[in-house]
């Protein structure tokens, strides 16, 4: 599903990734680890198509319509409500039975009662839950998550654990974290960046 060969990325003179080679098969769960500044986010941005490699090749099988992405920012409009945000993305991704799908996700992620609140009024943890809803709204084949536990409380983290466990084998998962022990209970492949 993802095949990288001698992948490199530089920003100006700064070398961020150099000669990275790896493969991710359909249904795999790959955890990308490494300290701050090791290039985890850059690698994910390359995989999702938001950045272009400086050298090497990167083949991503699914079209961008089949990729879900959770970045550092929640990628939601602060002046729109939770429902309006998800409705916007649902329309752009042409999610079938959009309203039912949104309602089901809001229940599952504990956001139903806040659905008419603007995103600007949400806590960091609620925003992260909303961002997760947005990322999985269109049932992506490839889900790419950058520090997904960031900002989540114990309940939120447990919820995400359950979600990730439930997705194993059904979706291809690529998760970047500086804290690999957080995902340790979930059996996964590792890609360590220095």
């Amino acid at each position: 599903m993802i095949s990288a060969k001698e992948l490199s990325k530089r920003y100006g003179f700064k070398r961020v990734l150099e000669g990275l080679t790896f493969d991710v098969a359909r249904g795999d769960f790959l955890v990308v680890t490494g300290p701050n500044g090791s290039g985890k986010t850059t690698l994910l941005r390359l995989c999702v198509g938001l950045a272009i490699p400086t050298a090497g090749t990167l083949e991503i099988e699914p079209h961008r319509s089949r990729i879900g992405f959770l970045g550092h920012e929640p990628l939601v409009y602060r002046e729109l409500t939770i429902l309006e945000n998800l409705d916007l993305y649902g329309r752009l991704y042409r999610v079938p039975e959009r309203r039912e799908r949104i309602g089901m996700l809001l229940e599952r992620f504990g956001l139903w009662d806040s659905r008419r609140e603007r995103a600007s009024a949400l806590s960091r943890g609620q925003l992260q839950r909303l961002a997760l809803c947005r990322a999985v709204l269109h049932k992506p084949d490839l889900l790419i998550l950058d520090e997904p536990f960031s900002g989540l409380d114990t309940d939120g983290a447990a919820l995400l654990d359950r979600e990730l466990t439930g997705m194993r084998g059904q979706r291809t998962l690529l998760v970047a974290t500086h804290d690999p022990e957080r995902i340790a209970p979930l059996e996964s492949g590792r890609l360590a960046l220095a």
Binding site: V48, L50, R64, S65, E79, L80, Y93, R94
Partner: protein, 213 residues
Amino acid sequence: MRRYFGDAAVLARKDLRLELRARDTLPAMLLFVLSILAVFHFALPSGSSRLAELGLLWVAIIFTALLGLGRAFVAEREQGLLDALVLAPCDRSTIWLAKGIATFAFLAVAELVALPAFALFFSPVGWATIAGVVLADVGICAVGTLLSAMAAAGRARELLLPLLFLPLALPIVIGGVGASVVHGSGRYLGFLALYDAIFAVLAWASFEYVVTE
């Protein structure tokens, strides 16, 4: 084609809704255009020619548009949302089209106030001027939305947008002023329409390269 315009409509509706909620852009444009017309009213010596008055109207329109264009991508820039729009499976030029439609709407509202105000401070405008303003708005929004996206991605964006936009807006000013002051303004209106067509196609075709790294 239906899908393309459907996506653009969804995105434009989102931009209009954001403005209704935040009221960041339109009130500022209205206040600015009224203020600048008032300043021109007192700055222009009494007995000045109608040519000078109409020239100042176009200055007011261009700078009001610049104010709106400067805020076109603020939400996307501040919250990193351009990534989300770029990742969505719609044609990336729909982002340009939707932003252009929203900016056109704000500019049109500002001009609905500005033209009567101009008539109050100076003298009423004719149909040729109104047609020129409508055609100029299309060109301003087509070019300006592309440049606004470019500026949003760069540093010193407040400086970059006027530096890029004003030279490209010169033909709009020439066409607009020409349509306003010359008898038989068809030539200038045709010139504005040609400008709109050429720059709309160029902006539409190049927008994808502006929003991807």
